[in-house]
Symmetry: C3
C-alpha cells in the first residue's frame, strides 16, 4: 500500500487497534519485549513493510507468514498455533475475525485520508433557496442542489454532483464526484455513491403508437421514484431507473458494484450484493442476501428467492424459488475446438432425434 501516514502522525499498534476497532471485536496483542511500533499503513502478507500492519485470514497463505516483514500481523489463535514453528519477527495480534479486523483497519486508514479533505460548502456550488442542508454537510465545487432537496447531517458531496428537485439524502452519506440524482429519489443513511452513478433516470417504457403508425413509440413518462435503504453502496457509472408508477426499491445494506443497470420497478432485498456489469430488467424482484456474479443478466418480471447465488455471466430467464447456486455460462475453448462443438450445438435437437431413433430401432443407415 502507498504509505499513508507520516511517521510522526502514525499511531502505535495499540492506539491503532483501539481506534479502528469500533465494533468491539476481541483483539489481543501478544506480549513482546520490543516497544509498540508505530503503524503507518496496511499491506498484504507478502507486500507489507516494517511500518505496516498485515493480516492472515486465509489459512492457505500461512506459508507467506514466515517471510512477512510487517510490524504486526492479525490472525486467529488457531493460525498462531499452526504458525509457531515458522518464526517471524512480526508482532502477533490475536483476533477471532482477522478478515473483519482487516476491514476495520482499512476503514480507519481511509477515514484518516478523508478527514483531510476540504469541508464546507464551496462557493461555486449552486444551491436552491428551498433546499434543506443539514449540519456539517460538505458540498464540493460545481455541485447543484435543486429546489426542495434535503441533504442529511454530515453528508459529503464530491465535485459536480447534482441532486434533483425534492430528492433526499440521509445522514452521513458520501457521494464521490459527479453523482446524479434525478428528482424524487430518496437515499437512506451512510450511503456511498461512486462517480458517474445515475439514480432516477426514466425507466424504459413506451407504448406502440398506432395512430402515428410506422412503428412509432409513445413515451410512457415515468412518474415513480427510487427509494434506497440505509448502508447501501453503489458503484461508478451504475444506473438505477425510477419506477413507472411506483418506486424502484433497493433494500438496506445492498452493495452494487460498477456499471450495474437496475431497471424500473425492480426490488432488491436487504444485503444482496451484485458484482460489476450486472443487468436487472424491469419489475424483477430479487430476494435478501443474494449474490449476483459479474455480468449476469436477470430478465424482467421474475421473482428470485432469498439466498440465491447466481454465478458470473449467467442469464437468469425464469423464476428461482429455492435458495442455492445457479449457473448458466457456456464453457469457452480454443477456437478450433469451440467451432467443432458449436456446430453440434446448432443441431442438438436433431442429435436427440437420431439417438431416439437408435434407441427404438437400433443401428440406422441415416
Amino acid at each position: 500500500m502507498p504509505v499513508l501516514l507520516a511517521p510522526d502522525q502514525a499511531p502505535t499498534l495499540s492506539q491503532l487497534l483501539a481506534a479502528a476497532n469500533t465494533i468491539g471485536l476481541d483483539c489481543k496483542i501478544l506480549e513482546s519485549p520490543e516497544p509498540s511500533p508505530r503503524i503507518q499503513g496496511l499491506g498484504s502478507l507478502n507486500c507489507a513493510g516494517p511500518a505496516e500492519i498485515s493480516f492472515l485470514s486465509n489459512p492457505r497463505l500461512l506459508h507467506q507468514f514466515e517471510a512477512c516483514r510487517a510490524a504486526a500481523v492479525v490472525m486467529t489463535a488457531g493460525s498462531y498455533e499452526a504458525a509457531r514453528n515458522r518464526p517471524s519477527g512480526c508482532r502477533i495480534v490475536l483476533c477471532s475475525q482477522p478478515y473483519l479486523m482487516y476491514a476495520l483497519l482499512a476503514q480507519w486508514f481511509d477515514r484518516h485520508r478523508t478527514d483531510r479533505l476540504a469541508a464546507g460548502i464551496h462557493p461555486s456550488a449552486v444551491i436552491a433557496d428551498s433546499a434543506d442542508i443539514g449540519q456539517d454537510v460538505s458540498i464540493a465545487a460545481h455541485c447543484v442542489i435543486e429546489a426542495g432537496a434535503v441533504i442529511g447531517q454530515g453528508s459529503r458531496l464530491g465535485p459536480g454532483c447534482v441532486i434533483g428537485a425534492g430528492s433526499r439524502l440521509g445522514r452521513d452519506c458520501l457521494l464521490h464526484a459527479r453523482v446524479t440524482l434525478y428528482h424524487a429519489v430518496t437515499v437512506g443513511e451512510r450511503a456511498i455513491l461512486h462517480a458517474g452513478a445515475v439514480l432516477g433516470a426514466d425507466g424504459f417504457g413506451f407504448a406502440p403508437d398506432p395512430l402515428k403508425g410506422g412503428g412509432a413509440w409513445a413515451k410512457i413518462a415515468q412518474l415513480g421514484g427510487v427509494t434506497i435503504g440505509d448502508d447501501v453502496e453503489i458503484g461508478a457509472n451504475t444506473t438505477i431507473d425510477r419506477g413507472a408508477l411506483e418506486n424502484t426499491l433497493i433494500g438496506d445494506g445492498v452493495k452494487l458494484d460498477n456499471q450495474i443497470m437496475i431497471a424500473h420497478n425492480v426490488t432488491v432485498g436487504e444485503h444482496t450484493a451484485m458484482a460489476a456489469c450486472v443487468g436487472v430488467a424491469g419489475s424483477t424482484s430479487i430476494g435478501r442476501r443474494c449474490t449476483i456474479g459479474g455480468a449476469a443478466m436477470i430478465s424482467g418480471h421474475l421473482v428470485l428467492a432469498d439466498d440465491v447465488h447466481i454465478s458470473g455471466g449467467t442469464a437468469v430467464t425464469a423464476n428461482i424459488s429455492e435458495a442455492g447456486r445457479y449457473t448458466g455460462v457456456y464453457p469457452f475453448a480454443g477456437h478450433a475446438q469451440w467451432q467443432r462443438n458449436a456446430a453440434v450445438l446448432s443441431q442438438l435437437s436433431q442429435l436427440r432425434r437420431r439417438l431416439r431413433s437408435i434407441e427404438k430401432n437400433g443401428k440406422t443407415d441415416q
Copy 2:
C-alpha cells in the same frame, strides 16, 4: 405513485382528459350521478388511491378492477362489458387504446412537473460567443456550450451538460444532467438524452504500428460525426461513438435504454428500440422497427433486416436477412446440474462422432 398535485391544483377528470389527449384519441367518460372528481395523480389498478386515475389495458388484470380504489379507470368497451358483473366504485372512461391513453396521461403529469423547473440561462453556464442559442432555451448551472454550437428553440439542458464545438441540438430537446456531446454531433428535434450519456467519443480504431513494433498501436483519429434523428431517446450512461470517416447514424424515433454502446459507423433504423446493456460493434447496420433485448451483443460489420427481434442476452454473430425473432441465450440451471451439462458441452463433437459410429456400426465397445 407519489401524488404530484395539490388538491387545489388538480384538474377535474374531464379537464385532465381534454388536456392530456393531445392526439385526439377517442375517449368518453361514462355518465355518473357523482360530480366529476379531481385527479391528483396516476396509479396502477392495485395501487391507485381515490384521487388518482388508473387504466386497464391487459385483460388478464380484470380481476384487479373489483377492488380498485381509483377515482376513474380507462378501459376498452370490451373490458367494460367483461367487468360489468364486478361492481366497483370507479368511474369508467372508455377508450379504444387504454395503454396509449395511459402514456398520454403520464406525459401530462410529467409536463406539470417539468413546467415548474427553473427556466432561463444560469449565470454559471459558460457559453461561447459564437454559439447560437434559440428562443426559450433553458441552460442549467455549470453547462458548457462550445464555439459554434447550436441549441434549438425551446430546448432544455440540465446541470453540467457539455455541448462540443459545432454540435447542433434541434428544437424542444430535453437533456438531463451531465450529458456530453463531443464536437460535430447533430441531434434532431424533441430528443430526450439522459444523464451521463456520451455522444461522439472516438470510435475504437487503431492500426498496428510495425515501425514502433512490440505490438504497439497507432491511433486512427476519428474524423466522422454522429447524426441523431428526431424523437430519439437515449438512456443514462449510454455511449454513441463518432464515425471513423463518415457518420454514425441513429434514425428517427429510435429508443435506446441505459448503458448501451453503439460503436463507430453503426446505422440504426427508424423506431428500433434497444433495452439496456446492449452493445453494437462497429459498422453494423440494424434495420427499422427492430427490438433488441437487454444485454444482447451484436458483432461488427453485420446487416440486420427490418423487423428483427433479438431476445435478451443473445450474441448476434451473423447477418440476419429475414424478419422474425432470434435467440441464443444458454439456459441456466442449478449449479450441479449445470456442471454435468457443461462437461458434455465441451465434448459435443465427440458425442456426435460416437453417435455416428453407432448409426453405422451398431453397439460399440468404446
Copy 3:
C-alpha cells in the same frame, strides 16, 4: 468525412504528406502533369470527394478504386500494379503501409481541429493551491483539481474534469469532458481519456460482518491506487477501480474501448486492446499484446498469457497459459429452432448417459 478545412487553409498534397508523416514512413507521390491539388479532408474510397485524400489498404477493395473521385489515393506498389488496368483520375501516393499512413493523415486532420480549441485555464476551474500545473496546460470550464494533484506539461482537460487529491497526469495527456480521477491515481504520458471515464473508484470488497449478522457486509476500504502507463487510451464511461492494498496496473500502450470495467488489482499487459463492454474481475492478470473482443467477461483471480485473443462475448472462467484464440459464445438461431436446441441443452448429461447405454447394450426400450 465532413470537410474540415476551408480551401485557403488546405495544404497541397506534398505539404500534407510532409506534415502528417511524423514517423518517416516511405511515401512517394507519382509524377503527374496536373498541379499538386489542395487536400481539405480525408475519406474512404467510395465516399471521398475531389478535395479529399483516400487510401487503399485492403486489396479486396481494389474494385472501388476505379470509380474513386478522391484527389489522391495512398496504396502499396503491389496494389498500384494490380490497379493499372483500372484507370482513375486520382493521383497515386505509393507507401508500403497505407493503413498506417491513413492513421497518420487522420491524426493530422484531428490535430488541426484541436489546435483551434481554447487554450489556457478557464476562470471557472477550481484549482487547489497545492496542485502543480505544468507549462502549456489547458484546463476547461468547471474542472476541479484537488490538493497536491500534478498536471504534466502540455496536457489538456475538457470541461468538468475532476482530478483527485494527489493524482498525477503525465505530459501531453488529453482528457475529454467529465473525466474523473479519484485520489492517488497516476497516469503516464500522452494518455487519451474519454468522457465519463472513472479511474480509481473503490474496488468491490466486503467482509461478512458476523457481529451485525443477518447477512450484513463490512466495507473493506480500498487503500491501493491505479497506475496507468504511457500512451494509453481509455474509452467513454469506462471504469478502472483502485486496488485493495496494492495498485491496479494498466501497462504502456493499452487501448480500452467504452464501458469497460476493470476491477481492483487487475494487471493488463503492454499493448493489450479491449473492445467495448468487456468486464475483468478482481486480481486477474492479462498478458501483453492480447486482444479481448467486445462484451467478453474475464473472471477474477485468473492469469492470461501474452498474445491471447478472446473472441467477443466469450466468458473466460479459467487460466489460459498458451497464446492463441479462444471462443465460447453460444450460436444464436431463429427462436423456434433455438427452443428445440435449448431444451436438449438442459438434458445434455442424460443424452450422454443414453448414448453410453446404447454403446454398451445396443438398442434400448427406454
